[in-house]
């Protein structure tokens, strides 16, 4: 059997300069990733000479196992991670199935997509203030409706089961998954499939689930995995909303690593490794779940049930869930913005007694300095990342599926997402120093790249691969060389997906705290280094100022990502079905 025509067209053409891209990417990332990993694995087995660990031992694991909170902490990481991922995915898919292509959907997208750029910590602070017994909702309905002159003693935030944490994660991950789904839909003729299904009498949601979902899910699988890995190892949100007795495993690792007793850094390393294994196990479990769901789903689809009436329940439900998500985060942010100008604001006053710009005036100089630095680092990192990712994907594509080159190494770049960042950094830092990279902007950009690149990769690779290769064949028969196919056909068609991936990358770069601080040697001051340092003082006014500033920058990125394609292709109607 000879390869299919489109494959032949791809493999017979020279791969071109992009052939080096996977190698270059792996070279750029392999060393820091391996070093970061070594910096976790060695101390986990007792090896860290500077701290007196000069023999390989299992003691750190014994200390870890002796911690009585371990089973519960593991359970919390798993339960909050799975619940947050499953519910965010369900809301995302349900909303898309029930409302995609309507004005309501567009309006909701406009409301939700800026939320993607809200830093997790800011969203968590906002939510915590919203739902706490002394929070905004309680202040608004007290005392006239509740009779509360004092905040009631109710355990809403930091609940032992992690419900508040799960809700916070859902609020943050739904916008991410929605944007990924939207980018994926651009590669599928979903409206036509849906129209056919509906003409055959299927309900809107059921028709979408049976015809469009399989193609969409294949494209958003990696982002879903990222959500699962992130939700299980999140620290900043878990510190604010999560349980404390015990906390999640990731938070406990942080507590050990920041403990003044340096001996705890060994069990911290063991804990971090355990965390990585947990995430890896959870991903395998999810993957198995996908198989089962696919099998059940196929049977369901073949069954032919039309589920027409389900729409009357599911459409309002989707709207309610997504709307609540958006409103909760937006109201929390509005509360933080209000705090940034608040004078004395006590329970149960629904609004501050007076407002002033004192906090803003005090922070403006730092804001100005930090904004420029944040932009510069974010833009350079994102540009590097998106270039490398596109080059890698293109090289992969031109080689064809039959001759896989260095790309089998590429999955390694996802490792930084599996290991908790705080545990990953010491090794990365030591490596940077050994490589002679002391401090400053270049090493910070290199470090950001380690964390930004995986997100850009997972955001773009599925839509990229889902692109219909017959376009390339058509262009090639017209005499276009591979590079021209890339620039004139593929990139324009994938512009939205590429821009969304870039916007995600930019947001990830903006959010980096520890890599910027520790690898930059304190030389680099960004909005996030300022914001996280100030957030440790729990001062809502200052947090409000930086939350607003920190959100505006990446929000610009997302607005560009969503708006630019429409602008560029305003004369090509129908490119974005």
């Amino acid at each position: 059997m000879s390869p299919a025509p489109e494959l032949r067209a791809a493999t017979h053409s020279p791969v071109g300069p992009v052939a080096f891209a996977p190698g270059v990417t792996v070279l750029l990332l392999a060393a820091p990733v391996l070093a970061g990993l070594a910096g976790v694995v060695l101390p986990a087995f007792g090896w860290q000479p500077v701290l007196g660990g000069r023999a390989l031992t299992l003691d750190p694991w014994r200390t870890l196992a002796d911690w009585p909170g371990l089973p519960r902490a593991i359970w919390l990481s798993l339960s909050t991670g799975f619940a947050a991922t499953a519910v965010s995915l369900a809301i995302t898919l349900l909303l898309t199935a029930a409302w995609h292509g309507t004005r309501t959907f567009d309006a909701l997208m406009r409301l939700l997509s800026p939320l993607l750029s809200v830093p997790h910590a800011a969203a968590a602070f906002g939510l915590a203030f919203l739902i706490a017994p002394s929070g905004w909702i309680a202040r608004i309905i007290s005392p006239w409706a509740t009779g509360w002159e004092r905040p009631p003693d109710l355990l809403l935030v930091n609940d032992p089961a992690g419900v508040a944490l799960t809700l916070g994660l859902i609020a943050k991950e739904v916008p991410f998954l929605l944007l990924m789904t939207l980018a994926a839909l651009a590669q599928i003729d979903s409206q036509r499939s849906l129209r056919v299904a509906r003409s055959m009498g299927y309900g809107r949601v059921a028709g979408w689930a049976k015809t469009v979902l399989p193609a969409v899910y294949r494209q958003i699988r990696l982002p879903v995995y990222a959500v699962l890995a992130y939700s299980m190892s999140v620290v900043d949100m878990a510190l604010i909303l999560g349980p404390t007795r015990p906390p999640t495993l990731a938070v406990q690792v942080l507590e050990w690593i920041t403990s003044p007793d340096l001996a705890n850094r060994f069990n911290a390393a063991a804990g971090a490794l355990l965390q990585a294994l947990l995430v890896a196990g959870a991903l395998v479990f999810w993957w198995l779940g996908e198989r089962v769901a696919a099998r059940l789903g196929r049977r369901w689809a073949e069954g032919g049930a039309r589920h027409l009436r389900a729409d009357t329940v599911l459409r309002p439900l989707a709207l309610f869930a997504a709307g609540t998500t958006a409103l909760a985060v937006l109201a929390g942010l509005a509360a933080l913005a209000l705090w940034s100008v608040a004078g004395l604001w006590q329970f149960p006053d629904p609004l501050p007694r007076n407002v002033n710009l004192r906090t803003w005036a005090g922070q403006v100089p730092a804001l100005g300095r930090a904004t420029g630095e944040t932009l510069l680092i974010g833009l350079v990192t994102t540009l590097l990342a998106i270039t490398l990712v596109i080059a890698c994907l293109e090289a992969d594509h031109r080689r064809g599926r039959l001759r896989r080159g260095a790309s089998w190494l590429l999955p390694m770049i996802y490792l930084p997402l599996l290991v908790p960042q705080i545990a990953f950094l010491p090794g990365l830092q030591t490596f940077a120093l050994m490589a002679g990279m002391d401090s400053g902007r270049v090493v910070v950009i290199a470090a950001h790249l380690v964390f930004v690149l995986p997100y850009v990769f997972l955001s773009l690779s599925d839509p990229w691969r889902a692109w219909d290769r017959r376009h390339a064949v058509a262009a090639a028969t017209l005499g276009a060389r591979p590079s021209r196919v890339l620039w004139a056909v593929r990139l324009p068609m994938l512009l939205r997906a590429a821009l969304v991936a870039a916007a995600v990358g930019f947001a990830v770069s903006v959010a980096q705290y520890l890599p910027t601080l520790v690898l930059g040697g304190g030389r680099i001051e960004t909005l996030t280094t300022e914001a996280v340092a100030l957030a440790s003082g729990a001062n809502r006014r200052v947090i409000g100022v930086f939350a607003v500033a920190q959100m505006l920058l990446p929000m610009l990125g997302f607005l560009l990502a969503l708006g630019l394609p429409a602008l560029v292709f305003r004369n090509r109607k129908g490119v974005w079905a």
Binding site: P160, Q346, L433, A533, A538
Partner: protein, 404 residues
Amino acid sequence: MRIPLLAAGALLASLAHTAGAEPPDPADWPAVLAEAEGQTVYWHAWGGDPRINDFIGWVGRELDARHGVRLVHVKLADTADAVTRVIAEASAGRDEGGAVDAIWINGTNFLSMKEQGLLYGPFAQDLPNWVFVDTQANPTVEIDYTTPVEGLGAPWAMFRKVFEYDSARVPEPPRNAAALAEWVRASPGRFTYPQPPDFAGMGFLKQLLIELTDAPEALQRPVDEADYDAVTAPLWGWLDQVTPHLWRAGRAYPQNEPGLGQLLADGEVDIGFSYNPGRVSAAIAGAELPDTARTFVFENGTLGNSSFLSIPYNAANKAGALVLANLILEPAVQARAQNPDVLGFQTVLGMDLLAPEDRARFAALDLGIATLPPDEMGPALLEPHPSWETRLAADWRQRFGLAE
């Protein structure tokens, strides 16, 4: 691929070693000043309080104007982040030219770095302004948590633990452990403490232990030498009694001292505490607390500790860091820090050691409406040996740190 890369890294590392300069000798102060001029000092210090950040900014301007040394405040969320950097540098063999020139460090982090040999010094006693430091009245500037500082850190502020409350809601606050227990039972849900091993939460446990135990002298020696169970039984008894009546019935705890302060500001709790006696006055001025907020201390006294400025063993700009350490001990700078409109930190200087005009700077300070005058602060309690803190934290976690 892995091996050549590591080899290349090692090669680069060996090339990166610059010609080593002799560390400055703090006893030869004119030479220190000369070497410091033109240096940029990176001071890694907690950045969670805008008021402290502003103060450090002001110190930087003074340092530049007087000594030609630039100061950059590296704002940390946690002092451990700077410790992480120094450990990484040490791991990579970067024994010179380190990125951290100075760390604002408190007792336990300081002890860890000292024990691992990661600090430069001794230097504190050689600073010209050391003569103003009152080591008699303020023993915590030389003995931190029963362990000698040995000149590896320059003290620059003292902290005393004070309780904070709103006098409009609590007319007569409880001034000892038994009264506090009584008050908590009568006002369920209105008191809590930061979750150990947070240092403020540990401070509260130690304060209680010192008052409640029958053998307070045992706390000054390592925990191994004492009958731990007997010494600590009254503390656990107190906590067992009180915990069901705590905020959230003890099912959740605030994360740290700022978290507890936020609960007080939100009216969720009625009594809080902090290690900064001037915090409430400053918070009233900043409209964070109502003007009826006040502070009090327990009758038997209150714990105190000092903040230090330490210099990592491999700091690139040690001379500049020394000049900074000396500047923040200067009477004018200390008086500014003690001003409640600025920080409200307690000075480490002795009034009788100062020149009259400097003494006048302190005398002129209005401590603020909620700050206790020195004669009402009560006796300073001695910190227990650090081994107690470790053991108490582990024990607390077993008894109260896990969900029921």
